[in-house]
């Protein structure tokens, strides 16, 4: 499965796998895809350096990428504490009450919140990049708009391609004008931050808008037939995130969450502002329901909501409070029904792709 972009990056299959787990990213690259490690859960650069060292030792020299969450708009000199101070007390009370209603225990004294959003702050993302540029990262993706011009220039100086997610042709054109190299067209059905245009419509629209830049189809892809569909829509590859959550290598550390993912159908997700303040698709839970409740205060804008709920999410995860327990995931969750090694999942993708190509060739009278 070779496109101009996959050839340029030196990978066997034009399958880009996004994951917060180094073991998953490395396994995707070893399988012949392109693993992209999500950096948002890292705080300081040192943690990232530790995991990039690990990636270097476990990717057999295969290429891989890094995904950061860097806001395009610079906010000078704003600290996490400044942002904390902007959160209304009513919202804090709503979080406390919702947790109390479900009997969610407190974290232990001095225990840090495991779920972090500090990677969204530009200074944190920049410190991560200072580290990343010392590694042979081949692609740098940004989940929140075009990265700042100096970051794009630095990446290009290191021979790194720069990608960004886009939920509309307009966003994609903005990325092209900012000098980016690859556009990830993130359809409505995708997990995480996403817009309202579904992949079937979005992918070809973005392909035409940014031509000749390569586009990756993201959203709803978890089988070889969906890869074939994404490529038929004009993409130079597919971007798969959710599917890896239920691989053996994923470090979810929650049997309850894995159970929920395996049990969920395609209709069990919701596009909600509950987690970050921007619409992000995730498992629908009593937590997301609480934030949709017209009698509640509703979510705050990014980045306030993420800071507001960080500790709560950590507590829900740590104590596996099932009714509230969720995760960003796309509608493809309906297809995730067993825990298997990345290599087995990847083999299914490539075999399913070949079968889908066989089938469309028969339909087209070319068999």
């Amino acid at each position: 499965m070779q496109t101009e972009l996959s050839t340029r990056l030196g990978v066997e299959h034009a399958v880009f796998g996004f994951t917060p787990f180094p073991a998953v990213a490395a396994a995707i690259s070893r399988a012949g895809g392109f693993g992209v490690l999500g950096a948002v859960r890292y705080g300081a650069g040192e943690e990232l350096a530790r995991d990039l060292d690990w990636m270097e030792a476990h990717t057999d020299g295969r290429p891989y990428g890094l995904d950061v969450v860097m806001p395009a708009k610079k906010v000078e000199g704003v600290t996490e504490a400044d942002i904390e101070a902007m959160i209304p007390e009513g919202h804090r009370a709503f979080v406390r009450e919702t947790l109390a209603k479900h009997g969610v225990p407190e974290l232990a004294e001095g225990e840090a919140s495991g779920w972090r959003i500090t990677g969204w702050l530009e200074q944190v993302a920049r410190s991560q990049l200072d580290v990343a540029f010392d590694y042979p990262v081949k692609l740098l993706a940004n989940a929140l708009g075009s990265p700042p011009a100096d970051v794009v220039a630095r990446a290009h100086d290191h021979g790194i391609l720069v990608a960004a997610l886009a939920g509309s042709a307009r966003h994609a054109l903005h990325h092209k004008e900012a000098g980016l190299d690859v556009i990830v067209a993130q359809g409505y059905e995708a997990g995480g931050h996403t817009g309202e245009i579904a992949s079937m419509v979005l992918t070809p629209e973005v392909v035409r808008a940014v031509d000749p830049l390569p586009v990756l189809a993201a959203g709803g892809i978890g089988s070889g037939e969906q890869i074939a569909a994404g490529l038929a829509l004009g993409a130079q590859g597919v971007w798969i995130g959710s599917l890896w959550l239920t691989t053996e290598e994923a470090e979810l550390h929650s049997a309850a969450l894995i159970r929920k993912l395996l049990a969920a159908g395609s209709g069990d997700t919701v596009r909600s502002r509950a987690l970050t303040g921007k619409p992000a698709r995730q498992l629908r839970t009593e937590w997301t329901d609480a934030w949709e409740d017209p009698d509640g205060p509703g979510p705050l804008p990014m980045p306030l909501q993420g800071l507001l709920v960080a500790e709560a999410v950590s507590r829900i995860q740590k104590y596996e409070v099932e009714p509230l327990l969720g995760t960003p995931v796309g509608q493809i969750v309906g297809r995730m029904d067993s825990v298997r090694p990345v290599q087995a999942v990847f083999d299914d993708l490539t075999r399913g792709f070949e079968r889908a190509i066989d089938r469309v060739n028969r339909i087209a009278g070319r068999a």
Copy 2:
């Protein structure tokens, strides 16, 4: 473009074109696709008979189908007047006020409402079927669940395949259990009544759920690459509705509406209950906004909402009140940017399909 289903129906291309306009349906069938005439706008059976006579004279013996809107649940002895009586006065006042705010003129004395929903009433749909069974209709599709068992049996007695739209695998399975022959998997991005699962995820999910029944991919399809994608997802054909609205043969009778369709982008639709009481994708207008307004009364359930707004929609259409003027249409509206004959649109679809197959074969190393 041949599948088992297209062969069975005797059409050259597995492209099913749904349209309320006989001239469009006939042109689709003449072009080598399968035209499906929507019957919802017809009242009594005589009107339908007149247009089916016309179809017979203009399809050159090619096969075509009929789409009715028949509720699966039978409501015995309920008349339109009974349903009218269930509409709250507050909702009627809201309609009057919204129309007055935009200066929408009244219909002339004795002028009938052109926009009808009477086709949704089971007795009307049944009188249409009494007519339709006298014509060589090859496929009967129902937009509102499985048709009643006796209707399915009568269709089968006439050698007619029965299809129904499904927005989820659960709906699709229900259709299979009701003895239906074809499932139209209607993705989130589709125009008209639609669920929340996007085509990329829905199509293969429905294919697996109802195997070996044939599935048509509906929602987001308006180009040959999207046809290739739908078929790669396992469909035995595609179901295209919106795209024909801006063909020369379409009888929209509104230059303003055509202008709005040509100008709209993929983000200019909304899934709203404003038109029928069930979520249906349509152009976003000040009319749909009014029904979303938290200070307004909100839409009534089907079939009340359709009866409530029927005259208002007719007035908005007749006087082409632009801010309120809309129509059911899918996200593919972003691609509809010129008015052309059906044959030219169809030729683009088949040529684009061949190009998409060429491309995926190159990617798969089979060129």
